[in-house]
């Protein structure tokens, strides 16, 4: 069956869709920021260049803030702007606006900041290896069923895994347009963002009582986000609003690529230590002890939430009787890390999936057999004591093994590699991802959605969830229309605007379709039964006087779902999505280079609403994960040396393997989370394929030729 076409495709292909940089309003000033360019220390002096008329510029610093100089986040510790203390590269010192962009850029490039430097922690390992860098709350998760072992034939093994920063690299850099209406004392922000209501909180925080009303709207097009436009927009919108308020003119800031790369949030680097007690013959894991650490950067911001998801995914798709997990944040003098597709799960799953293959390699047993032996099955308990009621992981694994011809290739490649210089490898990995906010998050959020049936027969959907490329607005409209059965062009999602859109929560956590979409569908069903129509078009035409009519619905979680945030016991996620992946690689030992040839993905994401869009999510997620696995790297000893895309190696068309995707159990009544799971598992599958090809255990990402060269040297010694 053909998938319904995306509503936004034509406008995006012809240049008609407006992205933020396409917005202009009368009297608009160009805005920009000056940020810290040392890692730690103090700002001592700001020297503006001579030859400019300072009267033409609007300049704001921390001292101009009428409200609070704190970005609202789960942990309120990051200032919008700094005037003295420097904790990381990329802190905003000044906002500057001018009518002419060329003059503004010249002025900024000639402005000199004098600093006094202090010692800084910028190296990921230096940060994560030293417990003195720990900050914030330490999280614990303990789960003990009756011991499944007797003391004979036991083997204890410890392994340490590291992952690096990853840049979201959405193609559209971040930007904000702030318009201040003096009469109404209203601040309107239009911008690139995933969470309009977070931005509203942020602008209200920085402006305090200086403005009466704050309205946030997303730009018509949002050019990719992947988590990168989850929390940084709070800061950028705050500074842009401050500029517009002081200038009393509209101000637009669009970041340059280099600045976007250097100062916005990235994926957290991680160190994960796994100690497992196993049967020394077959690798059955009886007990596991995981120490999960994230480099949060200079401030905690939303890192505790990432940490939380990380520890809740740390045992992956395995059933282990005794589990002890500790999660901690570490501080470094780098820009705060934030949300990125996967949100702590990819780091945890990389460690667990790599560990499984290391064990299989040590015991000379098949990684597939080891997985089957330890696999999480329906009825088993997760470390949170949550009983898994619907687990199709086994089906995913069986199907991916069958599709890829894993078993035969595994032995064929072993033979092939005995006589060939260029090696072949095949690797497995499992994935799981909890849909929606963690624990009681959805209970607290109480998402609200609204559907308006217009007089002219149109159906308008009001949700706070944005269209950032993932296809949400097409898919959500389709879910509503599965009840109304109108022509697709009659059902639309309105561009989110906080003055008319109810708060259906942020566009994060694989929750847009799973929480908001299913809620909309429930509302559409209610509307249908309340109005009692057989044909909605007819019904509106015959009862013109009762339209427009507006309907709202609030999310009510399953009353049986209970989660204890202290002990981390209970239902962490009402529904998990499951996946299994096989990756086939060729490794050239002369070039120390891995080439991914094929990648098979079998996923259970429940009901698939729009197959074309869903496939696009998996393809895109897989390729991002391959970039993380192989080439993407930001920090080279110390602060980032990036000047642009030139030295951040993103996957291009020639780098991609043949990617096969199959969705299973799609007859489920519920559409589950999909956006993030494709990021969770491909990296360890590549790494495991490399282990099969070469016998070299590398427990770190990315698998660059430099890292492989170094590891090969070690393994030869």
């Amino acid at each position: 069956m053909k998938s319904q076409k995306r509503k936004d495709a034509f406008a995006k292909l012809t240049g008609k869709c407006r992205f933020l940089d396409d917005y202009t309003v009368p009297d608009m000033l160009q805005g920009y920021i000056i940020y810290t360019t040392i890692d730690r220390g103090w700002i001592r002096k700001i020297n503006f260049p001579a030859g400019f008329d300072l009267q033409e510029f609007t300049i704001v610093s921390a001292s101009d803030i009428p409200g609070k100089n704190i970005v609202p986040e789960p942990v309120n510790d990051q200032p919008f702007m700094t005037s003295e203390v420097v904790d990381n590269f990329g802190q905003v010192i000044l906002g500057i606006a001018h009518p002419n962009r060329e003059i503004l850029k010249k002025f900024i490039s000639l402005t000199r900041i004098e600093y006094e430097r202090r010692n800084a922690v910028t190296d990921t390992k230096e940060c994560l290896d030293n417990e003195a860098n720990q900050f914030g709350e330490i999280m614990h998760l303990k789960h003990e069923l009756a011991p499944t072992y007797n003391l004979r034939h036991l083997w204890k093994w410890q392994q340490i895994f590291y992952t690096q920063h990853q840049e979201q690299a959405y193609l559209e850099p971040q930007g904000m347009l702030a318009e201040y209406n003096i009469e109404k004392e209203e601040m309107k922000i239009t911008g690139t963002m995933q969470c309009p209501f977070f931005v509203k909180d942020a602008v209200e925080s920085i402006m305090g009582k200086a403005v009466k009303n704050v309205v946030i709207e997303t730009s018509e097009g949002i050019g990719g986000a992947f988590g990168g436009k989850e929390d940084f927009p709070n800061l950028l919108a705050g500074v842009t609003a401050l500029l517009a308020w002081k200038a009393q003119k509209p101000v637009k800031i669009v970041l340059d690529r280099k600045d976007d790369l250097l100062i916005t949030t990235n994926r957290h680097p991680s160190r994960v230590d796994i100690i497992a007690i196993m049967h020394d013959q077959n690798g059955f894991i009886s007990k596991i002890d995981i120490d999960y650490r994230l480099d949060a950067g200079a401030f905690q911001t939303l890192s505790p939430v990432v940490l939380h998801r990380g520890i809740l995914h740390a045992t992956g798709g395995y059933n282990i009787a005794e589990v002890k997990i500790k999660g901690s944040l570490h501080r470094s003098n780098t820009p705060p890390n934030g949300a990125f597709r996967g949100f702590g799960a990819p780091q945890a799953i990389f460690a667990m999936e790599s560990f499984i293959d290391n064990v299989a390699h040590r015991l000379s047993i098949s990684p597939l057999r080891l997985r089957q032996l330890n696999l999480l099955k329906t009825g088993d308990q997760l470390p949170t004591s949550q009983i898994v009621t619907e687990n199709h992981l086994q089906d995913c694994l069986d199907r991916v093994v069958q599709l890829s011809g894993y078993k035969k290739k595994f032995t064929d490649f072993q033979e092939y590699n005995k006589t060939n210089t260029v090696k072949k490898g095949i690797g497995l990995a499992l994935g799981l991802h909890g849909g929606g906010y963690t624990g009681n998050g959805e209970k607290v959020l109480q998402s609200r959605v609204k559907i308006v049936l217009e007089k002219n027969g149109m159906v308008n959907i009001y949700v706070a969830n944005v269209e950032m490329g993932q296809g949400a607005h097409t898919t959500l409209a389709q879910m509503v229309n599965s009840i109304f059965k109108l022509p697709p062009e009659k059902v639309n999602v309105v561009i989110p605007n906080t003055s008319q859109t109810p708060n259906s929560g942020p566009t994060v956590a694989s929750r847009t379709i799973y929480v908001v979409g299913n809620l909309l569908q429930k509302l559409a069903e209610r509307i249908k039964s309340e109005l009692g129509f057989a044909d909605l078009k007819d019904h509106i035409a015959k009862n013109q006087n009762s339209f427009p009519q507006s309907f709202e619905e609030v999310f009510v979680p399953d009353p049986a779902d209970d989660f204890d945030d202290i002990t981390n016991q209970g239902v962490a996620y009402h529904d998990f999505s499951w996946a299994a992946c096989v990756v086939e690689i060729t490794y050239d030992p002369d070039l120390y280079q891995i080439r991914v040839d094929k990648c098979w993905n079998v996923l259970d994401v429940g009901k698939v609403i729009n197959e074309g869009i869903a496939l696009g999510q998996v393809y895109g997620g897989v390729v991002q994960a391959l970039g993380w696995a192989l080439t993407e790297n930001i920090y080279k000893k110390g602060y980032p040396r990036l000047s642009g895309f030139t030295d951040y190696t993103l996957p291009a068309s020639l780098d991609i393997p043949e990617i096969k995707v199959e969705f299973i159990h799609t007859n489920s009544p519920v559409a589950k989370g999909l956006g993030e799971i494709p990021m969770d598992y491909p990296a360890p599958a590549v790494r495991n394929a490399f282990l099969q090809a070469t016998g070299i255990m590398i427990n770190e990402l990315p698998l660059t030729p430099e890292r492989i060269f170094a590891a090969q040297g070690r393994s030869k010694k």
Partner: protein, 161 residues
């Protein structure tokens, strides 16, 4: 400096600094929205245009170089027969995601389709290797171009017979 060129088949004349980027002149002076700035250093292809018949990144071209030359952007391409076929195929395969890079892809793919319409995945990969997309993993873009190649070849064989 006064510069005249053909923009999407319309003659334009502007007076500006010769060293300004074609990208800026198109966006700021001529209000051509399809041309996007993403990396600003010729790496990503979001600002691609057809210049004298070849796809180039307009962030690396100075306006002075364009004197007397024909420039084609996604706006112009979308009016051509091959452009229309491509747009249909991108829509039908649900290849578009955030779309910020897609006007650039339209330019590269249109060039491919109008010069070598061969539905070969490897050749298409080569043709779009100067365009970065972070959303799609390229799979559906390649699929859409293959479909467009098949369609254009079918149309041409119809014309001959």
């Amino acid at each position: 400096m006064t510069i005249s060129f053909l923009l999407n088949n319309e003659p334009v004349t502007i007076t500006t600094e010769p060293m300004r980027r074609l990208l800026d002149v198109l966006r700021e002076d001529l209000k051509v929205r399809s041309v996007k700035e993403s990396c600003g250093e010729g790496e990503c292809g979001a600002c691609s245009v057809i210049l004298a018949g070849k796809p180039v990144t307009s962030c690396l071209v100075n306006i002075a170089q364009v004197e007397g030359i024909e420039v084609l952007t996604a706006e112009g391409i979308s009016q051509t027969p091959a452009g229309k076929i491509l747009i249909d195929c991108f829509e039908e395969t649900n290849a578009v995601q955030c779309g910020f890079c897609f006007t650039g892809f339209l330019v590269s793919c249109w060039h491919y389709l109008t010069t070598t319409p061969v539905a070969d995945a490897e050749a298409i990969k080569q043709a779009i290797s100067g365009n970065i997309c972070r959303c799609t993993g390229y799979v559906k873009i390649i699929e859409a171009v293959q479909l467009a190649c098949q369609r254009i070849n079918k149309e041409q064989s119809h014309e001959i017979s």
